[in-house]
Amino acid sequence: MSEPQAPAFRRAVVALNGGPSDERIVRLVAEHARHTKAELIGVHVVEIDWTLPLDSDIAGRSEEVQRVLDAAEAVAEESKVRLEPVLLQARDVGAAIVDEAVERAADLLVVGLPYRKRFGGEFAIGRTIPYILQNAPAAVWVVRDPISEEPR
């Protein structure tokens, strides 16, 4: 028997950052989920500044925030897979994603990584993905955006 291309999963939490990588990762996970009939949960976290109460009415009113989840749901539907959209407000994005994955008993966490450089030209991974890699109990897929330009 041949090795499967990707490990099977039952329930995956897909972290959505509202960027162009969302469509790519949802499509990728949905294609796998379609064959395994796995559940997909799309999570978008709005980071709330410490100056505001955590439950202040920020994300609920934002059309842009809602669009992130609606677009992900539509992409999953195109692959004939249902994605449950979840909108969170939290102080720390990484912690909220990991906690949601734990609560949902997800066995896969998928995050997109935009290809960004720090001032000075060094690749910047940010702080959310390292946090997830260190703390998520489930398997983690990190899908990096393609490099649009050849590095000099």
Partner: protein
């Protein structure tokens, strides 16, 4: 909502998060800046009666499809051939019979011309098919001859083409259904008296199938078409083998041979022309593919053109083959004691009296029922194109739950069922009305294509132009022949109906034009706010919560408001006035005494005198009649309330410078 939601604790102290509800999510999806797309739940009915109707409809027609599913509903070539070609292919089942029905008058010598006539019709078929392939490619938007002539000839001619097509599509349903019923009654004569009922029920079932959408209709209808094609081809092969190789076959009986002696040549020539005209019904349905190009999967035009070529090839083989067998087996018409169709006699001759014969009859009947289906696709599509161009009511351009043009489908089935009832399901009574329109249509479309090529002058235009010119000349000749030989048998009716329909469509177009001119707003510059004065009139029945809510609504709009109380009891009016002045002193109350107890007319008359009293040098004000309305809790108690308001509303609808505003009062508001 958020305020009441307790933050969820994370694994580490301080890691807390709030999960937000998304109330829009079941009903809408944000798809762009300031743009929402409704989901299925938002389109679902909200009342119990509406939900019940929707579930009944869902059971018969299927669940609603989203517009984005349209591409999935498109047809692959195999299904499209079954859907759009069943009409043309099925005409091979009765075209031979129509030829022989005429030739029989000339005896056996004339009957022998059957094969030559069918070959001549097949040549005509090739010319028409080649020409329509060009139309598919040049006009991928569909609409066939209507679109071609509208673009290249002019409005009136295009409407003539559309009218001719519409008539022919209705006739196709009526003729093919009644012919299918004849196939059944040929095999089971006991059902002869029920032919009208069988025909109407069959149309109902095909209607239902089409309301379920194009792809499902394709699934339902594809199998019988291919079964007929397969079994008919087998029959032709076996029959031809027996005639050509085994030397079997028969000549016409002595009663037909005896007629030969007195046959006069000119009479035979006329008979042959008539037979040609009768057999030309074989070409009906050829244009359907060009009308429905957008129903094909991409590349639409190429797929449609290929399907058209396959259809013409199959039809040609079937038609010539069946006529060859009929002539060589010496088959003529049997009308008594029960009609036996020519194709059923040919099948009987080839397959004998066993199961294959009954199977073939069943396939033929099924195909003939499905031939109607071609029209069910083409007719609503043409109506939709006409509606989009404002020549038909706009509802015909709306697609139903299953992406089918439901209104067009229902109109077509009603008209065709009506024809079956009126003509008692007799095919030969319907045939004279048939095929007249289609040749007018062929001629118009090919003439349009000549002008198309002259204008476009794209590579190979000379060759294409000559194909269309040849086709136009040929079909114009056939149109004249068909119309003249069938004129007194009923074709005159078509010639009357076409101008009537053209007139109707022109009238509809003019009405829409007038409306558009009335509603047009200039495209440049800012549109100013209201500049007319407004006044509010509130008919009241006393002081209650509904009235107070209506008065407050009026107060928000203007200071010029007054309440009107119509009564025949002045004591009651005095009591109301006393209370009104105490509780609503800023709103004048006008009491209209109505000694004849009328409630509506005095209000209208009061509005009239207000208008007349307005200074003639000032622009007339906008009168807003605010109607307090109590919202009933149950469907049955709606009868108890607001009856006067409803009557007043009917009296005021359409009144100049008047707006009616309902202010509903709901319990607890």
């Amino acid at each position: 909502m958020i305020g009441g939601r307790r933050p969820l604790q994370g694994r580490k102290p301080g890691d807390r998060r709030v999960r937000l509800e998304r109330p829009h999510a079941p009903y809408f999806r944000y798809t762009g800046r300031g743009q929402l797309t409704a989901r299925e739940a938002a389109s679902a009915p909200t009342t119990p009666a509406g939900r019940m109707w929707a579930s009944i409809r869902g059971f018969f027609v299927g669940r609603p499809l989203a517009s984005e599913d349209e591409l999935g509903e498109r047809l692959a070539k195999k299904k499209a051939l079954a859907i759009f070609s069943s009409d043309a292919i099925s005409s091979s089942a009765y075209a031979t019979e129509e030829i022989l029905r005429v030739l029989i008058l000339g005896g056996a010598a004339a009957m022998a011309f059957g094969l030559e006539i069918s070959i001549a019709i097949a040549v005509l078929l090739i010319a028409v098919a080649v020409s329509y392939r060009q139309i598919c490619i040049a006009y991928p938007g569909g609409g066939g001859s209507y679109s071609v002539s509208r673009r290249n000839i002019g409005r009136t001619v295009s409407l003539v083409a559309a009218s001719a097509l519409l008539i022919d599509y209705v006739m196709t349903v009526a003729v093919s259904t009644s012919s299918a019923v004849e196939q059944i009654t040929s095999a089971f004569p006991i059902l002869f008296d029920e032919r009208v009922l069988i025909g109407v029920v069959a149309i109902g079932l095909i209607t239902l199938g089409n309301l379920r959408g194009l792809r499902e209709a394709g699934n339902i209808f594809a199998v019988p078409t291919y079964l007929f094609i397969g079994s008919a081809m087998l029959m032709i092969a076996v029959g031809t083998f027996r005639i050509v190789v085994l030397g079997e076959g028969a000549s016409y009986g002595p009663e037909l041979r005896d007629q030969v002696t007195g046959t006069i040549q000119p009479l035979t020539a006329i008979l042959i022309l008539r037979a040609f005209a009768a057999g030309a019904v074989a070409l009906t349905g050829t244009e359907a593919i060009a009308t429905g190009v957008p129903a094909f999967k991409p590349p639409e035009a190429k797929n449609a053109a290929t399907t058209l070529a396959v259809m013409a090839l199959l039809l040609g083989i079937l038609f010539i083959g069946l006529t060859f067998l009929a002539v060589n087996f010496g088959i003529s018409l049997i009308e008594v004691p029960v009609k036996q169709t020519v194709i059923s006699q040919v099948a009987h001759e080839v397959y004998g009296d066993g199961v294959p014969f009954y199977l073939f009859q069943a396939f033929t009947a099924l195909l003939l029922f499905l031939a109607a289906n071609t029209s069910f696709n083409a007719f609503p599509r043409l109506l939709a194109i006409l509606a989009a161009d404002d020549y038909m009511p706009r509802q015909f351009a709306l697609r139903g739950d299953r992406l089918a043009y439901s209104y067009g489908i229902l109109v077509l089935s009603s008209l065709a069922a009506g024809l079956i009832v009126i003509f008692h399901g007799e095919t030969h009574l319907l045939i004279p009305l048939y095929a007249v329109g289609v040749f007018i249509d062929f001629t118009i479309s090919q003439t349009g294509m000549i002008r198309h090529w002259l204008r476009e002058r794209s590579p190979g235009w000379r060759r294409r132009l000559s194909i269309n010119a040849f086709g136009a000349a040929l079909t114009a000749t056939v149109a004249v022949i068909v119309t003249s030989v069938k004129f007194f048998d009923g074709a005159w009716l078509v010639l009357v109906l076409i101008p009537v329909l053209v007139g109707l469509m022109s009238f509809i177009h003019r009405q829409y034009d007038l409306q558009a001119a009335e509603l047009r707003v200039r495209e440049e510059g800012l549109l100013p706010g209201p500049h007319r004065e407004q006044r509010v009139i509130i008919p009241v029945n006393g002081i209650n919560r509904a009235v107070v809510q209506a008065v407050n609504f009026g107060r928000a709009m203007t200071r010029d408001l007054r309440a009107v109380y119509v009564t025949d009891d002045l004591d009651e009016a005095d009591a109301l006035r006393a209370r009104w002045e105490r509780q609503l002193p800023d709103v004048p109350l006008v009491v209209v005494e109505s000694p004849y107890r009328a409630m509506i007319s005095p209000v209208v008359a009061y509005l009239d005198i207000l208008d007349q009293a307005w200074p003639p040098d000032k622009e007339a004000p906008l009168t807003i009649v605010v109607l307090p309305e109590y919202v009933a809790r149950h469907w049955w108690d709606r009868l108890l309330y607001n009856q006067t308001s409803k009557r007043l509303k009917s009296a005021l609808v359409g009144r100049e410078h008047t707006v009616i505003a309902d202010v509903p009062y709901r319990r607890g508001h």
